[in-house]
C-alpha cells in the first residue's frame, strides 16, 4: 500500500540520487553525459506508483527517475552509471540505455520517440496474449513533433492497445522553447484521433497519481490508449554541459517555488496530517541511504574486458 510518505520518499530518493550523480560527474566518476530528472520527480513517482505487476515502462534518456520510481535498485543503478560490473546491466548500458525487466523497465531510449514505439509494441503483445497489463511510454514535449508520435498514437488507437502515453512537458526540447517550434497544442493532437487525453499538474505528485490511476484503469479495461500531458519543469540543465541560458528571466525561480518536493511536503503536513518531523526523518534516511550507495558504487568492481563477448543470443550463428 503506497501512502503519501512513500510517494515523498520516492521523489526524495530521485532528487538526492541525481544530486549525487551530478557530484560524482564533477569528480570524474560518472563518465560521458547525464540527463538529470531533477524537478520532474512527481511525474515518474505519480505514474509508476500506480502500476500493476507485469506492466511495462519505456523510459527516456532522462530516465533515472523512471527507473528508481519503478523500484530498480538504486545501488545497481548507481553502479551502472559508474560503469561497474555490479550495475543493473553489468556496465553495458550506462546512463541513457538501462534495461531492468524484473522491475518492468523495458528500456531507456536514447532516440526521441523510441519510447512510444517500444510501449506500443509491448501493448500489442499484451493485447494479443490477452494479458491484463498496460504499457507506459514516457517522453518529452519535443517528441510531439517526431514521426513516432503521430504513427504510434494512430496505431495504438486503431488497435485499442492498452498503453498510456505520458508526455512530460517541461517546456524545452533540449535548449529550444517547445512553443517556438510547435504548431497548436500538444494535447489537441491525441484528441484529434479520439484518444482520451488529460492534462495534469506534473509537479503535484498526488494529482499525477490520481490521473495515472484513472488512465491505467481505462487502458486496462480495453478501451484503448490514454494520453497524459504532465506539465512540469526541469530545474537543471538539459545535460551536463547546459547552463540553461535559454530560460526566461525569473522562470526558474518561479518553478522552484513549485518544486514537487516542496509541494508534497506541504500537502503531507497541511492536508494528510503528517508531522514535519516525519518528513524530515525521510530526508535523513534517504541522505544516509545515498551516502552508502555512493560509497559502495565507488568501491564496486569494474567489468573485465578480457571476458569473451557473444554477438548473438544462443551462440555464434
Amino acid at each position: 500500500m503506497t501512502d503519501g510518505l512513500d510517494l515523498y520518499r520516492g521523489m526524495r530518493l530521485i532528487r538526492r540520487f541525481e544530486d549525487a550523480v551530478q557530484a560524482l560527474f564533477q569528480k570524474g566518476e560518472v563518465h560521458g553525459t547525464t540527463h538529470l530528472y531533477s524537478g520532474q520527480e512527481a511525474s515518474a513517482v505519480g505514474v509508476c506508483s500506480s502500476l500493476a505487476a507485469g506492466d511495462r515502462v519505456a523510459a527516456t534518456y532522462r530516465g533515472h527517475g523512471h527507473a528508481l520510481a519503478l523500484g530498480v535498485s538504486p545501488q545497481g543503478f548507481m553502479d551502472e552509471l559508474l560503469g561497474r560490473a555490479t550495475g543493473v546491466c553489468g556496465g553495458r548500458a550506462g546512463s541513457m540505455n538501462v534495461i531492468d525487466l524484473e522491475h518492468g523497465l523495458m528500456g531507456c531510449y536514447g532516440i526521441v520517440g523510441g519510447t512510444m514505439a517500444a510501449a506500443t509494441g509491448a501493448a500489442l503483445a499484451f493485447s494479443l496474449r490477452r494479458q491484463p497489463n498496460v504499457a507506459v511510454a514516457f517522453f518529452g514535449d519535443g517528441t510531439s513533433n517526431q514521426a513516432y508520435f503521430a504513427e504510434c498514437l494512430n496505431f495504438a488507437a486503431i488497435r485499442s492497445l492498452p498503453v498510456v502515453f505520458c508526455c512530460e512537458n517541461n517546456l524545452y526540447m533540449e535548449y529550444t522553447p517547445t512553443e517556438t517550434v510547435t504548431a497548436g497544442a500538444i494535447a489537441d493532437r491525441p484528441r484529434a484521433l479520439g484518444i482520451a487525453t488529460e492534462i495534469v499538474d506534473g509537479n503535484d505528485v498526488f494529482a499525477v497519481r490520481q490521473a495515472a490511476a484513472s488512465a491505467l484503469e481505462l487502458a486496462r479495461s480495453g478501451s484503448g490508449p490514454v494520453f497524459l500531458e504532465i506539465l512540469t519543469y526541469r530545474i537543471v540543465g538539459h545535460s551536463r554541459s547546459d547552463p540553461g541560458a535559454y530560460r526566461k528571466p525569473g522562470e526558474l525561480d518561479e518553478w522552484k517555488k513549485r518544486d514537487p518536493l516542496l509541494l508534497a511536503r506541504r500537502a503531507l503536513v497541511d492536508e494528510h496530517g503528517f508531522d514535519e518531523a516525519e518528513v524530515d526523518r525521510i530526508d535523513a534516511e534517504v541522505e544516509r541511504q545515498m551516502e552508502t550507495i555512493v560509497e559502495n558504487a565507488l568501491a564496486a568492481p569494474w567489468p573485465d574486458p578480457s571476458l569473451p563477448v557473444e554477438q548473438f543470443a544462443g551462440g555464434a550463428r
Partner: protein, 322 residues
C-alpha cells in the same frame, strides 16, 4: 522430388510457424486482406485470424510494434513491403532490436523477423529496386538472411522465426515465381552456406538472384573448360567464411558477386575475410558488383547495370586469361 514456388515456400514457412507457435504473429501493409503485393500471404489471415493483420503505412510504428512485442513474449514477423522502405525502420532495428540482448546483459531476447522484397531488374526504378543488405551489414546483433532457392527460402525462414535474435529476411522480387526442389521442408540453420555446384578452377560466392546468374555463367564457362564451384551464401550476416575458405583452398580463386553498389558492399567484406585467412591459397580474388550510381529505369540502362551471367562469364575469362 516435388517442386515448390519461391513465394509458396515463404507462405508455407509462415503458415507452419503460425500454426506451431501461438507467439508468432505476422503484420504489415496489405498483407492480410489483400494477401501481399507480391501475393505471398494470400489466405494466411483466413487461416490464422487476428495474428495476421493489416497495418497503416507507418513504418516507425511497425518496427516499434515488432520490437516492443518481441521483448514481451511474441515472435513477430513484420513485412516491410519494399527493401527501399527499410531506412524508415533503421532506428528500431539498429538502436533498439539489435542492441537489446547485449545492452540488457542477457536479461531478455528480441526474436523478430523483418521480411522485405528487395533487388532490381523489374523496371521499378531507383527507389523500389535497391539491395538493403549493405546498409545493415555492420550492425552487430542483427542477422541477414538472403535465400536464392525456393527450398532454402522455406527452411531459412523457419529458422529465422525460431531464432532469438532480430533477423532481416530478404526476398528477391525476381525470385518469387521461381520453382525448385522443395527439399525436406525442415528448418535450415542460419549462417551456413551451401555449395550449389562443385568445381575445381574457381569459387564464385554470391547470394539471391545472383546465385542463378552464377550457375548460368558456370554452365557457359564449362564449355570453355573452366570448372566453377558456386557457393550460395544464404546468410549475409554472419557470413559462413569457413565454407568459402575451404572452397578456395581447393580452387585457388575467389570471385564474389554482389547485387549492390561496389563501394561499402558485403562483397568487399567477404573478400577481406577470405584474403586474411587464406592468402597463401589464392591465385586470384576479386568481386563484381553494381556501379556506384542509382539504379536506372530505362530497360537498356537497367539491363546493363546488373551483373548477369554473361558479365560473370566474361569477367572470369578475362581474369583467367582465356
Amino acid at each position: 522430388m516435388s517442386e515448390i514456388e519461391f513465394r509458396r515456400a515463404i507462405f508455407e514457412a509462415l503458415d507452419e510457424e503460425l500454426a506451431r507457435d501461438p507467439a508468432v504473429v505476422h503484420f504489415g501493409e496489405d498483407i492480410a486482406a489483400a494477401g501481399g503485393v507480391f501475393a505471398v500471404t494470400k489466405g494466411l489471415a483466413e487461416r490464422h485470424g487476428e495474428r495476421v493483420f493489416d497495418t497503416p503505412i507507418s513504418e516507425l510504428a511497425l518496427i516499434g510494434a515488432a520490437y516492443g512485442s518481441a521483448i514481451n513474449g511474441l515472435r513477430p514477423v513484420l513485412e516491410i513491403m519494399f527493401g527501399d522502405f527499410l531506412p524508415l525502420v533503421m532506428d528500431g532495428v539498429i538502436n533498439q532490436a539489435a542492441k537489446f540482448w547485449y545492452v540488457s546483459n542477457g536479461q531478455g531476447t528480441c526474436p523478430l523477423v523483418i521480411r522485405s522484397a528487395v533487388g532490381g531488374g523489374v523496371r521499378f526504378g531507383a527507389i523500389h529496386s535497391q539491395m538493403p543488405a549493405p546498409w545493415f551489414q555492420n550492425v552487430p546483433g542483427l542477422k541477414i538472411v538472403a535465400p536464392a532457392l525456393p527450398g532454402d527460402a522455406k527452411g531459412l525462414l523457419l529458422s529465422a522465426i525460431r531464432d532469438d535474435n532480430p533477423v532481416l529476411f530478404l526476398e528477391h522480387k525476381h525470385l518469387y515465381g521461381v520453382k525448385g526442389p522443395a527439399g525436406t521442408g525442415e528448418a535450415i540453420p542460419l549462417g551456413v552456406a551451401a555449395v550449389v555446384r562443385a568445381g575445381s578452377d574457381l569459387t564464385i560466392a554470391t547470394a539471391m538472384k545472383s546465385v542463378h546468374e552464377a550457375l548460368a555463367a558456370a554452365d557457359e564457362l564449362a564449355g570453355d573448360g573452366i570448372d566453377c564451384e558456386v557457393i550460395d551464401l544464404r546468410t549475409l550476416r554472419p557470413f559462413d567464411v569457413p565454407a568459402v575458405v575451404q572452397s578456395v583452398e581447393r580452387t585457388g580463386r575467389l570471385l564474389v558477386v554482389e547485387e549492390a553498389p561496389r563501394t561499402g558492399g558485403w562483397a568487399g567484406e567477404l573478400v577481406a575475410e577470405v584474403a586474411e585467412r587464406a592468402i597463401g591459397s589464392l591465385d586470384d580474388i576479386w568481386r563484381l558488383a553494381t556501379p556506384d550510381h542509382p539504379i536506372p529505369f530505362s530497360p537498356p540502362l537497367e539491363d546493363a547495370f546488373f551483373v548477369n551471367a554473361q558479365a560473370i562469364a566474361a569477367s572470369v575469362r578475362s581474369r583467367l586469361g582465356r
